[in-house]
């Protein structure tokens, strides 16, 4: 079993025993619920402006899960052991990100279907919205790895992570919300895929660099 697979399996198992996607998905749906409460139940208004707001809820739900991603490994010494693995730290970070995408990202993307419907998205757009959320989650998690690694040594760094990571959320949210309102769906989806790819490639490199410093 390679170090990549071992790390992936372990993180999936740990996240699963820690409640899995229950809390993030619950948070996602709860935040979506607040939107019509804030906008008023007017269907026409929701139809016009509601669906892109699933992206705000999704971004918040991811942010909330990032804080402990590396902090726990730093505090309990697991990070030191990761540094002694034959696999480069970048690969192990990627494995952790992938685990998070599977346990948290995908369920949120799937929960995006009922959320988008509740916000009056046209039903034929829902599959595209779910797909865009799945891609967007990969982009969010890719840059989220960097934010989590940079703040791993900071106690109660949740707000700091959010502040650091939010500027990086801008491009996926822009293209994701274009999908949600049905504008240039194909183009937006392919750019979103590019964002996801870029974040997945660069995020682990920057995060691993930060984690090596954290271990000093």
């Amino acid at each position: 079993m390679s170090a990549f697979v071992a790390t992936f399996k372990r993180d999936v198992a740990l996240m699963w025993t820690g409640g899995g996607a229950l809390a993030p998905v619950g948070y996602f749906l709860g935040a979506t619920m607040l939107v019509p409460l804030a906008m008023g139940p007017d269907r026409a208004l929701l139809e016009a402006a509601g669906p892109p707001l699933v992206w705000i809820a999704a971004a918040l739900a991811v942010l909330a899960t990032l804080e402990r991603l590396f902090q726990a490994d730093l505090e309990d010494g697991s990070l030191e052991q990761m540094l002694l693995s034959p696999a480069p730290l970048e690969m192990l970070v990627l494995a952790k990100g992938l685990a998070m995408w599977c346990v948290v990202g995908l369920p949120i993307a799937l929960a995006g279907a009922p959320a988008a419907i509740a916000l009056q998205a046209p039903i034929e757009l829902v599959p595209a919205i779910v797909l865009s959320l799945a891609l967007g989650m990969a982009a969010f998690i890719g840059v989220g790895l960097v934010g989590a690694a940079l703040t791993a040594g900071v106690k109660r760094g949740g707000v700091l992570i959010a502040l650091i990571v939010l500027p990086f959320f801008a491009p996926p949210i822009i293209f994701g919300s274009a999908v949600a309102v049905g504008d240039a769906v194909a183009a937006a989806l392919s750019i979103l895929a590019g964002c996801a790819l870029g974040a997945t490639a660069l995020g682990p490199i920057a995060a691993a660099g930060a984690l090596r410093l954290q271990a000093e």
Binding site: T151, P167, I174, F175
Partner: protein, 240 residues
């Protein structure tokens, strides 16, 4: 030049006279630029007197991006060659860049109110500037949250470099986004078609901003080096 100044002692000797000199140059340039832009330059045939806001707004936009580029370069040097003075420089520049970005947003809003009829327009440039401003805030917040200064410098440098990759991406995304959402209904002078009579005051103001940045970043670096000396002297005193 840069390698020469990379030694802290030499930097201190240089900045001791260079910082006041830059400051004086900034005062002169802004002192000339202020009446020039406010009184002696022509009003715009479309925008009237409000075009004068350009002379404070556009240099702020230019240098808030320029300062970030400076920080990214310093971060790169600090990260690759582990150069302490480069870390100090990057950190010293951040509050100045953040101030410029903030001023750019406020003056942009004050310009938008009479010309576009709104205090805030989500156009490409203002949105990108807002993202830049938030990036500055994140950078400063990360620096102040980490106690170990050496570690803070390295981590902030990583953030700065990643941010430097992000900003052009944000810019292009926002451009794409605004063409999607609003047909180009907003006409805005300042940009490609600029009258030569406006160029003089604009460049003078921009030079003033640049000199001021040079002076302030050196002063901030001097303060940081003095502070480090004080702290290390105390640490030695504490051990004895």
């Amino acid at each position: 030049m840069l390698t020469y100044l990379s030694n802290p002692q030499r930097f201190m000797a240089f900045s001791a006279w260079a910082a006041p000199l830059f400051f004086a140059a900034a005062v002169i340039a802004l002192g000339v630029g202020l009446p020039w832009s406010l009184v002696f330059s022509p009003a715009d045939y479309q925008q009237g007197e409000t075009v004068r806001i350009m002379y404070v707004h556009v240099p702020a936009a230019w240098w808030s991006m320029g300062v970030f580029a400076f920080m990214a370069a310093a971060s790169f040097v600090g990260l690759v060659w582990r150069h302490a003075l480069a870390d100090v420089a990057a950190r010293a520049a951040a509050p100045i860049g953040a101030t410029l970005a903030g001023l750019c947003l406020i003056t942009g809003s004050l310009w938008g109110a009479p010309t576009w009829g709104t205090w805030w327009e989500w156009d490409g440039r203002m949105t990108s500037m807002l993202v830049l401003f938030v990036t500055y805030l994140g950078y400063i917040a990360l620096w102040s949250a980490i106690e170990d200064e050496e570690k803070a410098a390295r981590l902030a440098a990583i953030l700065c470099l990643v941010g430097a990759i992000n900003l052009p991406i944000v810019h292009f995304s926002v451009e794409w986004w605004s063409t999607l959402h609003q047909p180009a209904s907003i006409v805005r002078s300042g940009g490609s078609a600029i009258h030569p009579s406006m160029l003089g005051p604009l460049l003078t103001m921009a030079a003033g901003y640049l000199f001021l940045f040079g002076a302030l970043v050196m002063m901030n670096m001097r303060a940081a080096i003095f502070r480090r000396r004080v702290e290390s002297a105390r640490a030695r005193g504490g051990e004895a």
